[in-house]
């Protein structure tokens, strides 16, 4: 006795309620639509007048839907898009270039001609800030991606292979954590001076992956014991392939969230280093250098500070909101999301009581 197929058994992978094992041969796959060309939507049409209901949303779809429900997260994403637009389209709207000095306007306030005012040397602050915004955004996102990749590879290899690989890599992580990252990057900055900002990205990423690396290692230790990893190992799949094909994809949500958070941290770190002259070097401009160049005059000419600093804060806030929203959407079991759901339930109960 076989049900109509399509995963209506007692639990996934088991299609019979009778206690007898399902018929030999190719077992029906649970959770998949039957092969008669009808989708669940055809079999359970939505009532007329209602939008069609999606019975089997994909994981991406589900995540996107949860993300969209989160108001702060969508606001953060919109803000991020706006910032990118401002950074790359904004400069086209103004006649001023970030390198052109206006010798008739030194330290003039925001006006119709110079929207955000000018600096001490007559540079247009609007053009300068947006140029810095471009660089800060790119640096932040690149560092986020690179450092997350580093932590994923190091953590997963240490966790999966164990033994000496683990000991050496964990030792390296401990050592890098003890060394003051800010000091080391600052010390190394003279060496990479003149080789442009991409090298700076590598430097920044090299000193910001360690904590996530530890997390990835401990997650790997549990994933290693899962059946699918064991199966792959007994089939003779080489270790590195298992790491990249079976272990890392299964902590994708952790890595995605971390990349976003790291990007935010990198933007702040970059601006801090650039503030002291250890970061982005001229002729490149970042938000940190713009703020640093004008910080002496900030008290008397506040717009010199508020426009670039405002952009910096907006990047940080938008990335934080997006990261938070992604965490809740990808990882509904995490503490924050659960607390949120619990709170919602509690509030509903309270409101019920009040009525």
């Amino acid at each position: 006795m076989r049900p109509a197929a399509g995963g209506r058994g007692p639990w996934p992978g088991r299609t019979s309620w009778s206690g007898r094992p399902p018929r030999a041969g190719r077992p029906p796959r649970a959770g998949r639509p039957p092969r008669d060309g009808r989708t669940p939507r055809d079999r359970h049409p939505s009532p007329p007048g209602r939008p069609p209901h999606d019975h089997h949303p994909s994981r991406t779809r589900l995540t996107a839907r949860r993300f969209a429900r989160n108001r702060l997260a969508t606001a953060g994403l919109a803000l991020l898009v706006l910032l990118f637009l401002a950074a790359y389209v904004g400069p086209l709207l103004s006649p001023w270039d970030h390198r052109t000095h206006d010798f008739l306007n030194f330290l003039s306030g925001p006006s119709a001609e110079h929207w955000w005012g000018t600096t001490q040397s007559g540079l247009d602050l609007y053009a300068l800030t947006l140029r810095g915004l471009q660089k800060s955004l790119v640096i932040g996102i690149l560092v986020g991606v690179v450092s997350t990749f580093l932590s994923a590879v190091v953590g997963a290899f240490a966790g999966y292979f164990g033994g000496w690989t683990d000991r050496v890599l964990t030792g390296a992580v401990d050592l890098l954590l003890v060394m003051p990252a800010f000091l080391v990057v600052a010390v190394l900055s003279p060496l990479v001076r003149g080789s442009g900002w991409p090298v700076f990205v590598v430097l920044l990423a090299a000193f910001s992956w360690m904590i996530t690396g530890r997390v990835v290692r401990s997650v790997t230790l549990t994933l290693k014991e899962r059946e699918y990893v064991k199966a792959a190992r007994y089939m003779g799949v080489p270790g590195p392939v298992i790491v990249f094909r079976h272990i890392l994809p299964n902590m994708a949500s952790l890595l995605i969230i971390d990349a976003v958070i790291q990007a935010g941290a990198a933007v702040i770190g970059e601006s801090g280093l650039s503030y002291f002259g250890f970061g982005v070097q001229p002729p490149d401009v970042s938000l940190g250098t713009v703020i640093a160049d004008n910080t002496n005059m900030a008290a008397s000419y506040p717009w010199l500070f508020f426009f670039p600093a405002g952009c910096l804060v907006l990047i940080g806030v938008s990335l934080a909101f997006v990261g938070d929203g992604l965490r809740d959407a990808l990882d509904p079991d995490a503490a924050g999301a659960q607390a949120r759901a619990k709170g919602r339930g509690k509030r509903a109960a309270e409101e019920g009581r009040r009525r």
Partner: protein
């Protein structure tokens, strides 16, 4: 417990040594102390510069391993060496640690206490106005680099001052009060202290309140809290004595690490407000191509990281009856 601690200490010491040596090599290879003496007018004689550099063990032409051997020998005997201008780094450290301590002691304790309070209160009043406001505000503060907070406060203070000098924005005290501790000098110091301390407190409250809110939310749903209420404790007593006490525990390591590490680098605050503490040395040593000073900062920071680790382990064990290593 004693043997466990000793083993842990030994491991820590090895790490400190390796980290400090690495920092020295990086600084020794990357920085160029000779640059400090170039482009002087009138130009300094080559031989004199070389002699000065040799004196302080920073001649880039000496192999870095030789320099390292001499430096390491001194450090083992408790001498951090001399700066490029020839001053003893030990004395400099003593002075700077004093400055940093005066700046940080009050601010860190106020910041921690306030952060825990704000976070816990936010959790209790979840989704009410205070919670929403503090969450959003801490998001914004955490999205700012510390120097942005500092400079913004500075601009605000300048506007508030309105031409007077009530809130001072630069230095630890005015020149005429140097070395004095009478009431007038104390008032002057307080005027200088207000802004940097406020900056530190704002940043710390934002950070700690986020963590504290999360741990407190976890505790609020716990059975033991319901039990405490059921046996007749008032809500406030139950929340404070059973809730908050448990919820603070997971935040303790974070607090300890941050407080201890602040001493190595309230860099941004010290640079923004012109205090001559440890954080300032970190930036100035690199900018001044001073290898010994950089290495000394490296040693100091590594020691602090490990001290913080040890301290937080000890404190955790003392506070949490479940952790007892035999």
């Amino acid at each position: 417990m004693g043997r466990y601690l000793l083993r842990r200490m030994a491991g820590y010491l090895v790490l400190v040594a390796v980290a400090a040596s690495l920092t020295y090599f990086l600084a020794g290879l990357s920085l160029n102390p000779r640059a400090r003496f170039e482009n002087r007018n009138p130009p300094l004689p080559e031989a004199a510069v070389t002699r000065t550099l040799d004196d302080v063990n920073m001649n880039p032409d000496t192999p870095v391993t030789t320099r390292f051997a001499r430096w390491a020998g001194d450090v083992v005997h408790g001498d951090l060496g001399r700066t490029l201008s020839g001053d003893s780094l030990n004395d400099d450290f003593g002075r700077r640690v004093g400055v940093s301590t005066r700046l940080l002691l009050l601010a860190t304790f106020a910041g921690s206490a306030l952060g825990v309070a704000v976070g816990a209160y936010g959790a209790i009043r979840q989704y009410r106005f205070f919670d929403r406001f503090s969450t959003l505000a801490s998001f914004f503060v955490l999205a700012m680099p510390v120097f942005v907070v500092g400079v913004a406060l500075k601009i605000g203070a300048t506007a508030l001052n309105d031409g007077t000098q009530t809130i001072k924005v630069l230095g630890e005290y005015d020149a005429q009060y140097a070395g004095r501790w009478d009431p007038a000098a104390l008032v002057n110091r307080a005027q200088h202290m207000l802004l940097p301390a406020l900056t530190l407190i704002i940043v710390q409250v934002a950070l700690y309140s986020r963590y504290q809110r999360n741990t407190m939310l976890d505790v609020l749903g716990a059975d033991f809290l319901r039990t405490a209420r059921a046996k007749g404790l008032r809500r406030r007593t139950a929340l404070l004595r059973h809730g908050l006490r448990t919820a603070v525990l997971p935040v303790v390591p974070l607090l300890v690490y941050n407080i201890v590490l602040l001493f190595a680098g309230a860099t941004f605050v010290e640079k923004t407000f012109g205090w001559h503490g440890m954080g300032e040395l970190l930036v100035d040593s690199v900018a001044g191509q001073d290898v010994n000073a950089v290495a000394a900062v490296g040693v100091f920071t590594a020691v602090l990281v490990l001290a913080a680790g040890l301290l937080s382990d000890l404190l955790y064990a003392a506070l949490d009856p479940r952790v007892r290593v035999r």
